[in-house]
């Protein structure tokens, strides 16, 4: 069968053609919104028009079959339009209040989870993991699923002091906004790459390989036409492996998970913040990574209990002090927590004014 004629550099179709009528009509003229429940909100326009939004959870990895099902629902209740959010949830919108309950019912009947609006845990932004990426030190979707099962009610009903943004990256490339999340899970290697000398000499350019190491841990091994790695200096970033596949870094026991917390991207109250290390290593335990799940829950619930209304995780920690965070959560403080990289000096305490902890 002949293929249709290809076109290039046309870019995506204009968003304008995909806007629901009520959106198109009131574009740029919204007045306020109200959150009606964990997964439903209404936006009211200057014109008096309203649009109701029902948000449902998504595993992000969707079969076309599910997308078709979503389309079916959108046809039935939402004039044939649907939207995805910046955190991969699905939004059903309608100007018609009377459709909300039937829509919710249908969604529930079909097994969809309504929630994620307001001061709750929303969907976990995550990456490919073992599903697709060569560098993955863990699976992404699996941990996300296990965590969200456990935090389910924080998505659907339970309220928190503010939004809690969780993210996960399956290697230190950190695809996503993991470095600025309230709670983030990042997979790390901890084994120094072991040069496969025979492969290396054919596969890899030695100077490039040496140059790829940010800590200057790699040096030539002329005898073997390969390279050597100074274990003391290697911080397992995997950059050399990206450049040279003969430097395998993955290892079932040495690969694991770290948790960093306290980041944010909005500028409300305080400036955007980076997430900071709180747990440097936990082993990979598929299929449900129970310790990771427990750690995330511990942090979330300590925050939920101790933070003031509207404080984000990072704002809460900065108010009480990191030493109190470690005390309240009971997480062990280790050498790994103390920065020993380029910007160490800015993380050290330069005053005798800390709080005592037990």
């Amino acid at each position: 069968m002949a293929l249709p004629e290809r076109r290039t550099d046309i870019g995506p179709p204009s968003y304008k053609q995909f806007l629901p009528p009520v959106i198109k009509k009131n574009y740029g003229s919204w007045k306020y919104h109200e959150i009606l429940s964990g997964g439903v909100m209404v936006h009211v326009a200057e014109s008096g028009d309203k649009v109701y939004t029902v948000r449902v959870a998504s595993p992000r990895l969707l079969a076309t079959e599910t997308i078709r099902e979503i389309c079916g629902i959108a046809d039935k209740f939402c004039d044939g339009f649907v939207r995805f959010t910046s955190r991969n949830n699905v939004e059903f919108m309608t100007p018609d209040e009377s459709k909300i309950e039937p829509l919710k019912k249908e969604l529930k009947d079909k097994g969809y989870t309504i929630g994620g609006i307001g001061h709750r845990v929303s969907n976990i932004v995550h990456t490919q993991g073992w599903v697709h990426c060569h560098g993955a030190a863990t699976d992404a979707s699996g941990i996300v699923k296990a965590i969200m099962d456990e935090l389910y009610e924080y998505f659907t009903t339970k309220e928190l002091p503010n939004k809690v943004r969780i993210a996960l990256a399956c290697c230190v490339n950190m695809c996503g906004a993991v470095h600025c999340s309230d709670i983030a899970i990042v997979a790390v290697h901890t084994k120094v790459p072991q040069p496969n000398d025979d492969l290396l000499k054919n596969l890899c350019e030695i100077p490039t390989t040496i140059g790829s190491c940010p800590t200057f841990a790699i040096s030539p091994n002329p005898a073997k036409k390969s390279v050597k790695i100074n274990a003391e200096k290697c911080m397992y970033c995997g950059n050399c492996f990206t450049v040279c596949p003969a430097l395998p870094i993955k290892d079932p026991d040495a690969d694991g998970i770290a948790i960093v917390v306290g980041g944010k991207v909005g500028s409300l109250r305080s400036s955007p913040k980076f997430s900071k290390l709180v747990i440097p290593f936990m082993s990979n335990e598929p299929p449900r990574w129970p310790k990771i799940v427990a750690a995330v829950k511990l942090i979330l619930e300590t925050y939920a209990k101790d933070a003031k209304k509207y404080e984000r995780v990072g704002e809460w920690i900065e108010r009480i002090g990191w030493e109190k965070f470690f005390e309240l959560t009971g997480i062990t403080f280790t050498y790994q927590h103390i920065d020993d990289f380029t910007f160490m000096r800015d993380t050290m305490r330069t005053a005798s004014t800390f709080k005592y902890t037990s």
Binding site: L3, P4, R7, T8, D9, I10, P12, P13, S14, Y15, Q17, F18, L19, P20, I23, Y27, H33, V51, A57, S58, P59, L62, A63, T64, E65, I67, R68, C71, F81, S86, T113, G129, W130, V131, H132, C133, G135, A136, A137, D139, G142, K145, D149, Y152, M174, G176, A177, C180, P214, N239, K250, P252, D253, V265, G266, L268, R269, F274, P287, F343
Partner: protein, 410 residues
Amino acid sequence: MPKKYDTPLLNELEKGPWPSFVTEIKKAAAWNKMAADELGQLEKSYRTRLVYWKHGGIVGVRGYGGGIIGRYSELPDEFPEVAHFHTVRINQPTGWFYSTDALRMTCDIWDKYGSGLTNMHGSTGDMVLLGTRTESLEPIFAEFSSRGWDLGGSGSAMRTPSACIGQARCEWANIDSLDICNEMTQEFQDEMHRPAFPYKFKIKVSGCACDCVAAIARADCSIIGTWKGDIKIDQDAVKWYAKNGTDIQNWIVDMCPTKCMSYDGKELKIDNKNCNRCMHCISKMTKALKAGDEKGATICIGSKAPIVVGSLLSWVIVPFIKVEPPYDNLRALIRKMIEWWDEYAKPRERIGELIESKGMRSFLEYIGVPPVPQQIKEPRKDPFWFFHGDDIENIKKLEAEEKKTGKYKF
């Protein structure tokens, strides 16, 4: 018929209330061989705790250098259907709005050529079609492009821009984030499809400081809507909030970062010249407070993930700029920025990293933006700074002038 794998480990991830990606893979695996082998290889990864994908190879469609992530299995004998398993990045319609027709159309194409598995959406924003073979790439592209769709970015190129929902459904959008994003996407089609940059370049647009698309943390060019002028206060609505349980003093006034609000139990006041437009009060009392009238954007540059000098948040470069169609000023500005970067960067050096290594002055001078204190959190501390060109000479001239007028200009 797709092969059927025993997946005792993955089955564990079908339990529990959260929607399961395993269920999704199984849905496709029921009829699609690639999806089935993906499931099989994934179960193996779960068993061995190792990933089985090779380094990406270079694959793509004719005339394009990006948009496809090449992926091959390390175990092609064991899982032949994922021997090739490339992803196709389809540039999402800005804002991720779809008609169901359009969505079904994409599903049809994907069912025909691919694994039947997708990511809605990738972290950069693309519709990510997960897994197909090299020989299907051209057909897929022809099918999509003939219907008005195009590939997104990958490699050392302009990447797919994205935007918050903005004026489509948000009362706080100071700028038309969707339109800006769409226009910039169109503007840089060539740069997106033919990687010729030193490294990736990402653009993200948020309508206000809430930054619902996380622009400040993960876009080389982060465009954030803001305003000038006084916040408009509807005192009746303030009363309504007070009556309906809002603790205005504790939750709003005391949390204002600049302490520019006051509330006497009746009237809410804002000292606007000290407001930094953080959005806290507005977001928590949306019926009572509205941003000022003069709308524009703050342009920030440089954010990126940690590899390898450490993660960066974007830095304020242009504190306030009007952004209205046809956005010529914005187009020109971004082009200038990229030009400078393209000229000086080493391979795999992001623009933020280059500014760090080459100095902000070189960048600002090139793009024609003056230094202003809004660009910094605080001035430098240690007494090592450069004087270039006639800096000192100009100071001497100024001092000579001062001698005449008897008035100092610091």
